[in-house]
């Protein structure tokens, strides 16, 4: 039986990829941000995941305005990063697990989430930057991956509630998989930020900290926000909170906070990190495999 270990939710600002490549972790601008990650890596190492399910939003590398899926699920044997046109270095390809992917897809469609399935899928910085934060300097990723892309480019976006429900359905699907697998969930993006217009640079620290607290305690409360509420309170790109909600939704057991970090600014963004442990009754997360 597959076990859901927990979730890591983290910002995915592209500049982080550049900072990693230039080894700026100790630079005064970057240090308060990068200092949040060793504790996350230690926890991830301690729970020994072999599959990562990642909720992220593509920014045009794979999906453009010609065809824009609301929810797209990877079913590929391999996922490659590619030149996004803004100078961040590409990372090695990720191994997929098509059997696991198709199991999740079947369960999701049975659960009335009519997702787009992708046997070929490029993954952009929103997927690769969090992976690099968890496994820096890797040449061979130690996990197989299942990317799930949520549209936050072209309005209308799926509502926060819908994304939370998607996460719950993914959680049920993972637990229904009859293989021994240790699954870590990743939710990327956020927290408050706005990249465009006269309101660019908008940050809402109070709202962000409330979200980080409620995500642990009462995610249903966050799922009641509308997309427009999130834009108003957290900025246009603050809607990426839906990826955090989806990741939280996938945690089916008792959830507790392991670690968090919050720092303003990285580029235009309030950067957040949350590490959540999931304890199912049947199989405690830290039990030996």
């Amino acid at each position: 039986m597959a076990t859901i270990l927990g979730a890591v939710t983290t910002s995915h600002v592209p500049a982080i990829g550049g900072a990693i490549a230039r080894k700026l972790q100790q630079d005064p601008y970057w240090k308060p941000f990068f200092d949040g990650y060793p504790a996350a890596r230690e926890w991830v190492a301690s729970v020994r995941p072999d599959i990562v399910v990642a909720f992220y939003n593509d920014h045009g590398l794979q999906f453009f305005l010609d065809k824009m899926p609301t929810f797209a699920v990877g079913a590929a044997p391999e996922y490659r990063h590619a030149d996004e046109g803004w100078g961040i270095p590409t990372v090695p390809a990720f191994r997929g697990d098509p059997e696991f992917s198709w199991h999740v897809i079947e369960q999701l469609v049975a659960d009335e989430f009519d997702v787009t399935t992708c046997q070929e899928m490029l993954v952009d910085h929103a997927f690769t930057v969090p992976m690099s934060l968890l496994w820096p300097d890797t040449v061979d990723w130690p996990v197989r991956v299942l990317p799930i892309a949520i549209n936050t480019v072209q309005y209308p976006f799926p509502s926060p509630r819908r994304c939370y429900r998607l996460g719950q359905a993914v959680g049920r699907a993972i637990e229904a998989w009859d293989r021994d697998a240790r699954v870590l969930v990743l939710g990327t993006g956020g927290l408050s930020h706005q990249l465009d217009g006269e309101r660019a640079g908008y940050i809402n620290k109070r709202f962000d900290l409330m979200c980080m607290e409620e995500l642990v305690r009462d995610p249903e409360a966050l799922a009641r926000f509308s997309t427009v509420d999130l834009v108003r309170e957290a900025g246009v790109q603050g809607v990426e909170l839906v990826m955090w909600l989806a990741a939280r939704g996938a945690l089916t057991g008792a959830v507790s906070k392991v670690h968090s970090n919050y720092h303003i600014p990285i580029s235009n963004t309030a950067a957040g990190l949350l590490v959540l442990e999931n304890r199912t009754k049947a199989a405690p997360a830290r039990a030996a495999a």
Binding site: G60, G85, W86, A200, V228, V231
Partner: protein
């Protein structure tokens, strides 16, 4: 039936909705072409000629040539795609974002280091925050205040 747009009362903010996606389709397609290194080189060599290969409006082409990102957005551009132009020019996302506020690069960077733009007065049109129309441009890069 007109689209429901419950977000029009958020100041200094454009939601990339269906109308924008239709208006800006070719502008955004041009931007996406800059993901390829050889296209970036061709664009840099002759911007006007490269733009003329795309079925964009003259207004859109002029906005790109002027690097007027607010105008590009008004004409259907999406910031994620427009960012490819900035990257082609060697500008960071922060420089691009700042350019839309009328602030100098330093002014914008300082605002972010000080905790970012305040939410106060910037949630609804008609309040008095710094993102409101009557408070533009916000900095010295925007020239004389009207």
């Amino acid at each position: 039936m007109a689209l429901d747009k419950p977000y029009l009362d958020i100041p200094g903010t454009t939601i990339f909705d269906a109308d924008q996606a239709r208006r800006g389709y070719h502008l955004n397609q041009f931007c996406m072409s800059l993901m390829k290194a050889e296209n970036r080189a061709r664009f840099k060599a002759n911007e006007r000629a490269y733009l003329d290969e795309w079925p964009m409006t003259e207004d859109q082409k002029q906005a790109v040539l002027a690097r007027d990102l607010n105008r590009c957005i008004a004409l259907g551009g999406n910031i994620y795609f427009l960012a490819k132009i900035g990257a082609t020019d060697g500008r960071s996302f922060q420089q691009m974002a700042g350019s839309m506020t009328g602030m100098t690069e330093q002014e914008y960077r300082d605002m972010m280091l000080a905790g970012g733009r305040s939410v106060e007065g910037n949630r609804h049109v008609g309040e008095d925050g710094d993102a409101q129309a009557h408070r533009q441009p916000q900095g010295r890069a925007g020239g004389q205040r009207a």
